[in-house]
């Protein structure tokens, strides 16, 4: 039962082309119904809100050719029923926007062979299941560079949600970026055990600032840490959306999720009958996320940040180039090598120089 991503991809692509795509849907007479299943409320002002903006973009671009439906705050337990219900109501394309929905999606997909599923993160594809996600770490590298320029105490504070690879490799990448400017940079990390809990995020930001961090990175959804940075006169980065207005004096840049173009592309593919399962991991150059305009930075700092972002975007700079050495001193990849995508996705160790506990 343990098939890895590669094997499945090869097989599934061939399968899907042959089996599932018989009849293209004609737009005018019969709009394509697209379902969106969110893990949080539409108004979480973070992950789910940004997916919903993508949905609105889809409606805007496609007009009468699509009709969208939202089901919010769905628990993994209920996901199969919600997806089946959407399928029974005629939805042909369903975006399931959380990793916790991934296994339920894999279970429900075979029972709805005429429905195409798009799972935001997962470990394998299937005949009618695609994976998509963005390489948010690319933005984290730029954050690290900026943080190193801005920090006087040489200490970054990082408010982390959960110890999952997505967060762990982001922390590693922030430090990679920071060390490229100043190898003496340090980081303090607080896990708040929530993607969204404004009060606790603010408390964590207070603790980090009290401990001398003067640039705050956040891997949680609410604007609370950034607002607090503003109040306490330190710097911070926005998450998920452009949070400039929450912290006019503290905001440096935000990592802005932008799923709309991808949603349009996939809906068009279904309508045209060319949908194929894929595993998309889009970087800065894909438009899946963007950096908000730099603020509170000198022109030199801003142009350096832009230069780094461009270098990553065009592939001249890769945040996971070797040498990569674990905190325990063992080498993962020597100089000249580079982590594979699967190695990045599964990263569960910190680099040497990052003193933070992880559950083992």
């Amino acid at each position: 039962m343990n098939i890895n991503r590669r094997q499945v991809l090869g097989g599934a692509t061939a399968l899907a082309g042959a089996a599932t795509l018989g009849q293209p849907v004609f737009a005018q007479s019969n709009p394509l119904q697209v379902g969106f299943i969110y893990v949080g409320p539409v108004g979480d002002f973070g992950w789910s809100t940004m997916h919903d903006l993508g949905r609105k973009r889809l409606e805007e671009v496609m007009g009468a050719a699509v009709k969208t439906t939202v089901v919010e705050s769905v628990a993994a337990n209920d996901m199969e029923r919600v997806a089946t219900q959407l399928g029974r109501q005629g939805h042909r394309l369903i975006f399931t926007t959380s990793f916790s929905f991934f296994q339920p999606t894999m279970r429900v997909a075979p029972t709805l062979p005429n429905v195409f599923f798009e799972s935001a993160t997962g470990t394998q594809t299937a005949a009618n299941v695609s994976l998509y996600n963005a390489r948010f770490y690319e933005g984290r590298y730029v954050q690290g560079v900026i943080a190193a320029r801005k920090s006087k105490s040489k200490t970054i504070g990082y408010i982390a949600a959960f110890p999952v690879p997505e967060v762990i490799h982001a922390i590693n990448t922030v430090m990679r970026g920071a060390w490229s400017v100043d190898p003496a940079m340090k980081i303090r990390v607080i896990w708040v055990n929530a993607w969204f809990n404004p009060g606790r995020e603010a408390d964590a930001a207070r603790a980090l600032i009290d401990q001398g961090c003067d640039v705050i990175c956040q891997h949680t959804d609410s604007p609370a840490p950034l607002q607090l940075a503003n109040e306490r006169g330190v710097f911070g980065f926005g998450q998920a959306s452009d949070m400039t207005r929450f912290a006019p004096k503290a905001h440096l840049t935000s990592s802005v999720n932008s799923w709309g173009d991808y949603y349009v592309e996939r809906a068009k593919a279904v309508i045209a009958g060319t949908w194929k399962p894929g595993d998309v991991w889009g970087g800065l150059n894909s438009g899946m996320f963007k950096l908000a305009p730099f603020t509170n930075m000198t022109p030199e700092e801003a142009s350096e940040a832009q230069r780094i972002a461009d270098a990553i975007s065009t592939g001249r700079l890769h945040p996971f180039d070797g040498p990569i050495v674990r905190a325990d001193g063992s080498t993962v990849v020597p100089a000249g090598g580079r982590l594979t995508d699967d190695q990045i996705r599964a990263q569960n160790y910190f680099y040497r120089g990052i003193e933070v506990a992880l559950p083992s």
């Binding site: 039962m1 919010e72 337990n77 209920d78 919600v82 296994q103």
Partner: protein, 361 residues
């Protein structure tokens, strides 16, 4: 003018079982008014809310899946509440049951085992739930530490324990370090009853539990003891019943039932352990228990009713494009109506036109 309540003299048991149904009928009427006020076609909206969850065999099976944990947990909680033991930590006991049962599924993963695996998981789940429930029971009986606090705090601790396990030692080694356990083997999944839906053996178990609990409460000495301790603790003491032994018993039973619900849910709808495995079943079951008047058959009816409102809310999001919050407001209103109607059935409500004269007694 003011409202005056007086107890109805002939409140038969038949009536008290029927009253939730009458209340539902009344709430549907008021629901129609509400939907019309919201600019929706009331007939269509009501049909989606109340009929779509029971419209065909697939939907009925889903309803059973959703109602099963609520019924199982609420029956156990009823025993606690009847005897004045305020266990509000069923959510944690649910999680603990999933941890204990899931531990067996993970330990036996990858090895061919017999059909004993799932029964063993259920047993372990019951032990897990009961073990967690024993802590508030022990602290209450030994040190008179209030069980509301301990049982509630243990919910968060159990959830964090699961979180740690799934992100740490029990993480699927081939799962790209995502926070999930391995998928349970077929023999470790909750036994399904049909091939075209998700209804599973948990529903049968819940029905058996309802019948057993109803029998216990109405026909057996233990049931009498539970009621007596709750209603007249001093009389119970004179009758020689041990209050603390009863506390242990009802906590153990309700913990075991919540734990059982946990492992049935995990083995049935998730097929693996994830950091979050309950959409608040343990807390919702508290409402179910009281809506069902702490009566096992009442819990069954209330559990199904609440499950209908949850699924109806989901369907309203899909078919009526209502935001989740609006469906929640409606669910809250429904519950208010049901609770209010309930009062009308127990009490005779009269409008009295007179100056207040409370001091008359």
């Amino acid at each position: 003018m003011r409202l005056v309540l007086s107890k109805r003299e002939n409140s038969s048991r038949w009536m008290s079982l029927l009253s939730p149904l009458i209340a539902v009928a009344l709430t549907i009427a008021s629901g129609a008014v509400l939907f019309a006020a919201m600019g929706l076609d009331p007939a269509k909206a009501l049909a989606i809310y109340f009929l779509s969850p029971i419209s065909d065999t697939w939907a009925l099976q889903e309803l059973a899946v959703k109602a099963t944990p609520l019924v199982l947990i609420s029956v156990g909680l009823s025993l606690c509440y009847l005897s004045n033991n305020w266990n509000i930590g069923a959510e944690g006991q649910f999680v603990m049951g999933a941890i204990f049962g899931g531990g067996i599924a993970i330990a036996t993963h990858g090895v061919a085992n017999g059909p004993w695996v799932f029964p063993a998981m259920m047993l372990a789940g019951m032990i897990g739930g009961a073990a967690l429930a024993m802590i508030p029971a022990m602290l209450k009986t030994r040190l008179s530490v209030n069980e509301i606090l301990t049982s509630l705090m243990l919910v968060y601790i159990a959830e964090l324990l699961l979180d740690w396990l799934v992100r740490g030692p029990w993480r699927d080694p081939k799962g790209f370090n995502f926070p999930q356990s391995v998928m349970f083997e077929a023999e470790a999944q909750t036994i399904r009853l049909t091939s075209d839906g998700r209804i599973n053996i948990g529903t049968l178990i819940a029905l058996v539990v309802v019948v057993l609990a109803a029998f216990l409460l109405s026909r057996m000495l233990k049931g009498f003891e539970i009621r007596l301790v709750g209603e007249a603790p001093r009389a119970a003491r004179f009758a020689g019943f041990s209050q603390s032994r009863l506390t242990w018993t009802v906590f153990a039973i309700s913990g075991a039932l919540a734990g059982l619900a946990g492992i049935i849910e995990v083995g049935g709808t998730m097929g693996q352990l994830q950091p979050t495995i309950s959409p608040g079943y343990g807390f919702t079951a508290i409402i179910v228990a009281f809506l069902g008047r702490l009566n096992p058959i009442g819990c069954l009816i209330a559990g199904v009713f609440l499950a209908i409102t949850f699924i109806g809310g989901e369907n309203a999001q899909i078919a009526l494009r209502l935001p989740l919050d609006v469906t929640r407001v409606f669910q809250g209103l429904l519950l208010f109506f049901v609770l209010a109607c309930d009062a009308f059935l127990i009490y005779r409500v009269r409008l009295v036109r007179s100056a207040p004269q409370e001091r008359s007694a």
